[in-house]
């Protein structure tokens, strides 16, 4: 636990120093330069708005038709719960929740790697990759990524430990955190098939307890859909808000990726990273981690289909199985491991400066 804590603290300190330095090198430090304000960029204000005022169909974004229904509820709900601890301040509560979740997530990822049978060095290197991965600043900012990583790692871990109810509860909470979290179901199905064969999958009455995580997983999303329906008459208020307020749409990846590459700028950068992630996911097959591959491949496909989505690295942070196999691949070669971390850390340094300066590449 101590090495993980040390990685967490050291990486956060370095990121904070870099962000401060970036701000001080420009005139921007006059605006929102405090340590907490530094962590509130882009979508942060939406989450804090939900935590403070609840959901509202009123358009409050910089573009028409942007409403806070685009954002899933669990993270803002937790922030709301922690607000009294922070004197009623949503920003500080958000930062507290995000960082607590990240520390807990590092712990669960460590346990998961050990559960897979990999060495301690692989588990620690995976934690380090998570700490230095580009845009890992969002693990400490009021964003959903740290909570999503925590619940995903916990759900996968408990499933592999055959603690089905715990896995189901974590999965249900997960689906109330981010829309792509529902792909956990794929993980659970493939894991069951890999472990017990197709017969177990096709005869659920024999061992119904193994299906608890699969059945409970959509519960969080359905509760949110129900709330949206009661509040707006639109159960799918989140995708509605994304489509109308943010101009997102779904197109096949073979159309979307070439268009993004042609568009240049952040789009092109994001498309290259998407393809790199797809290649990395093949490593999971090499280690026969088929269930993890199903989850990662579905998430990668989901992101590649999103026209108008411009996140370069953020969506990939939670795909920790990729970082496990990457850590496994380099763990026996210290120089390669050091080079990998240095490369990721350098990109992360640039990204945190962009984040501090509010540049769109860091969205």
């Amino acid at each position: 636990m101590l090495p993980l804590l040390a990685m967490f603290l050291a990486s956060r300190a370095v990121l904070w120093v870099l962000a401060r330095a970036a701000l001080q090198s420009t005139d921007a430090h006059a605006h929102g330069g405090s340590w907490s304000a530094l962590l509130c960029r882009f979508d942060c204000t939406w989450y804090l708005n939900i935590a403070s005022n609840g959901y509202s169909p009123v358009e409050t974004g910089p573009f028409p038709w942007q409403t806070n229904f685009a954002f899933y509820p669990l993270f803002p709900l937790l922030v709301r719960l922690f607000m009294p601890v922070c004197g009623g301040d949503a920003l500080h509560a958000g930062i507290l929740v995000a960082n607590l979740c990240f520390v807990a997530a590092l712990f669960y990822v460590y346990l998961y790697v050990r559960e897979l049978g990999f060495e301690r060095s692989v588990a620690l290197l995976t934690g380090l990759i998570l700490c230095v991965f580009p845009q890992s600043i969002v693990f400490s900012a009021p964003y959903t990524e740290s909570l999503c990583l925590l619940l995903l790692a916990a759900a996968m871990y408990y499933l592999r430990r055959e603690r089905y109810l715990a896995a189901g509860v974590a999965a249900a909470l997960l689906s109330a955190t981010r829309p792509n979290a529902i792909f956990f179901i794929l993980f659970a199905i493939v894991w069951l098939w890999q472990r017990d064969g197709a017969r177990a999958l096709l005869s659920p009455w024999r061992t119904p307890e193994k299906f608890i995580p699969i059945v409970l997983a959509p519960l969080g999303a359905f509760v949110f859909f129900g709330y949206c329906y009661l509040a707006t008459g639109d159960a799918f208020a989140a995708p509605s808000a994304h489509m109308t307020g943010w101009g997102w749409s779904f197109v096949p990846p073979w159309q979307n990726l070439p268009e993004q590459l042609r568009s240049g700028g952040s789009y092109m950068f994001a498309a290259w990273v998407d393809m790199a992630m797809a290649l990395c996911s093949l490593l999971l097959l090499r280690y026969r981690m088929y269930a993890e591959f199903a989850f990662c491949a579905a998430t990668i496909l989901f992101v590649c289909c999103g026209q108008g989505t411009v996140c370069v690295f953020r969506y990939w942070l939670v795909l920790f199985p990729l970082w496990i196999v990457m850590a496994r691949a380099v763990s026996s070669r210290p120089m390669a491991a050091a080079l990998l971390c240095a490369l990721l850390g350098t990109i992360n340094g640039a990204m945190v400066c962009a984040w501090a300066l509010g540049m769109s590449v860091a969205i």
Binding site: P64, P208, I212, Y229, A235, S240, A241, T244, G247, G308
Partner: protein, 203 residues
């Protein structure tokens, strides 16, 4: 320790019930939900229409500060004094017709901005869910008006909801990718309504 068979079956039945409930609830949501942002804007336009009855023939102009902008439902923006600009591929105009026993002719004064890469665009008009025609626009007929005949049978519902659809539109967001890239726009400057006395809907 083995689990009693009845408990296993009870658990299985419970999980099956939860799974069935998901399917039923999801189907209910799909059938009953409509995009709340679209519905909200169109409801405002219908409320405006209820307060401002239409006396035929009617002529409306759109643009920043125009009193007729209240009839614009979802999908328009009026950043300039002249014209309502489409900001989504589907945009609505909503009003409450007083006269429902005669066909109507709607005339739209539009300009379609295209690009050399995709010089043509398709505009479609529907009223209360019924498609009444589609028109190819671009140079040299980018500024041609569109006339639509609305059968009186479509006017029996409360509000008259006109949907204007365009195939390609420049995104107003930073997500400006795809075939609409580099700017394709539709601006509606005026709209007239009169009772029908001839054929329309000619592309």
């Amino acid at each position: 320790m083995t689990v009693p068979i009845w408990r296993r079956w009870l658990l299985f039945a419970s999980l099956l019930a939860v799974g069935g409930a998901y399917v039923a609830v999801y189907a209910f949501f799909v059938v009953r939900s409509e995009n709340f942002i679209v519905a909200q804007d169109n409801r405002k336009a219908a409320e405006f229409g209820g307060q401002h009855p239409v006396v035929l023939p009617a002529s409306w102009t759109f643009g920043k500060g125009s009193p007729d902008d209240g009839r614009l439902g979802f999908g328009w923006r009026t950043p300039f004094p002249v014209g309502a600009w489409m900001a989504a591929n589907d945009a609505w105009i909503v009003w409450i017709p007083e006269q429902r026993d005669a066909d109507l002719i709607l005339t739209f004064d539009i300009a379609v901005f295209t690009t050399p890469a995709s010089p043509r665009n398709r505009v479609e008009v529907s009223v209360n869910g019924k498609v009444l025609g589609s028109w190819e626009r671009g140079m040299p007929n980018a500024n041609s008006t569109i006339e639509v005949r609305v059968p009186h049978l479509l006017l029996h519902e409360g509000a008259c909801s006109v949907r204007v659809h365009i195939d390609h539109l420049k995104a107003m967001y930073r997500s400006d990718v795809g075939v609409a890239r580099n700017g394709q726009e539709l601006v509606l400057t005026a709209m007239t309504i009169r009772t029908a006395d001839g054929a329309a809907n000619t592309p």
